[in-house]
Symmetry: C2
Subunit: 321 residues, 2 copies
Amino acid sequence: MPENSTTDAVRMPDESSLSRRVVVSPGMCSGGSLVFGRIGDWTWEAVAAACRTNVHAARTADGQPAYLSFYYYRVRGGKTIHPHGLTFGDELRVSSRVFQFGSQSVLTLHRLAPADLGLADTPLDPAEVYDDPHPDCMYAENFNRWIARSRPDSNRSLARTSPPDFAFADLPRLPNQYSPRTLVGRAREAEGFCAPAPPGFAVAGPEHTFEYTLDVTRDINGAGLVYFASYFSIFDTALLRLWRSFGRTDEQFLRRRVIDQKVGYFGNADPGAVFTITVRNWRNATRPETEIADMALRDATTGRLLAVTAIEIEAGKAPSA
Amino acid sequence: MPENSTTDAVRMPDESSLSRRVVVSPGMCSGGSLVFGRIGDWTWEAVAAACRTNVHAARTADGQPAYLSFYYYRVRGGKTIHPHGLTFGDELRVSSRVFQFGSQSVLTLHRLAPADLGLADTPLDPAEVYDDPHPDCMYAENFNRWIARSRPDSNRSLARTSPPDFAFADLPRLPNQYSPRTLVGRAREAEGFCAPAPPGFAVAGPEHTFEYTLDVTRDINGAGLVYFASYFSIFDTALLRLWRSFGRTDEQFLRRRVIDQKVGYFGNADPGAVFTITVRNWRNATRPETEIADMALRDATTGRLLAVTAIEIEAGKAPSA
């Protein structure tokens, strides 16, 4: 290993877990979606190791490309580590663990801890992640489903599948009370994560609608699908427009602190697609600096629901003039 | 090491070189700039290892943050590996080597070879990179300079600096004939890489000008500067608009094959900035499918030159209807 290397060898504390030291580089932090993309890469890598499956070049039984798509992505920011608060040189200890979630899905948990916290390098305990998170750490939860294109030339019709060598039987089970299945199913049905209303929050102001044209220079991944991390950027584009309508500055936007973000992915799109994004802003009654942006992304032509998100944010104070 | 791991331990074939096996993941390939960002991360990592400097959290002698900024970035695509042609699961052997370039700069070369080519894992020879590139491989050349902000609240005034522990004296020297200094200086002076005209090419059609508003949801890196990889996306945004003006489709754009791209970075910008991008299109007389997009990026308010690029592309045939 070179001295000062940022890519430590990855350890496996058990058959379902990966652990790595990370020095944050420009390609994994920003006001944008790079950190979500990097965590997604760690999910694929953890699933590849734990399920002994070639996740990166997976095939269906028919030999068609199969993708371990992101169906639900949740991230919770901590006091020290939060999604848009990382900068070059931050040293992290990243713990990842893969859980079985049926024959066509898998669930991966990650903890991004400040390296100097000195947390034990043991397999991640779901009780910590869901019930007793360390206040300094950031946590991510990825619920992935295997999909394949039903028609080779379209992203609009994706079918569930599973590569024949996907070995999930030996993975640990996630205790039932933590399963996000009900939450995600309800969000899909209700077209948002805020039904019922989040406790302590009330809608502040009217619903806004923004249009977004799929950006083929940024949003298409190496397999020709809309990249899961781009959905974060697309929702952030709508959030920025909302904040500008409140008179907030770009600097305030860049300083936003994401406490909790959930994304449900229900559809993909082809180049040329135009989306409408509806946004409702919720405000906490007792902590008015805490807001939730509750958004739904739809195909502008068909109205088909493609994704929903809820972003709980500490908006921060406006700088004194 | 876990079985199927995508992050192989990095080897150092000599004091100035890194070598790694890479399985291409979603976070490092696309029609966009992810691959350029990832190569940039490898540059920082190679410099950190070869110069025994904490590149990721570097400081000036005064204790201010110092950044190993990208001043010139060149990439050449090969027949097998080219920037927008990578997909999930592609297996690469990446060789990187760092060369001394004065007390405030450094030059890093990378070769991305298909893993099954079986090239020897030896330090990269500049003669191969510049004079005799392997036709299947992609090569990148990064010329980085140490900078620091002159004023803490602005990206518009960046001064050259060097962290006191930057150890470059033991690095190999790049043979003089390969130095990009003259090329980059001339491009800055001429506000483009196409003066004099590239041999065999002639300007095809009028100059176009596009406006671009800095996108704070995508373009700002973890240190609050405009991200070097975003310049690729900003130029690609202008290229896409140019191609649409020719009646070309998004699908043709996504299939573009970059043979050679040079970017010179001459300035940064603050949130709220608006750019104008001028584009000239050059066509090869004997290979009309080969074009060069010759662009300059300027601050729309001041006219200050921020960056230039030349992208040599095989545009590909339009699909038969």
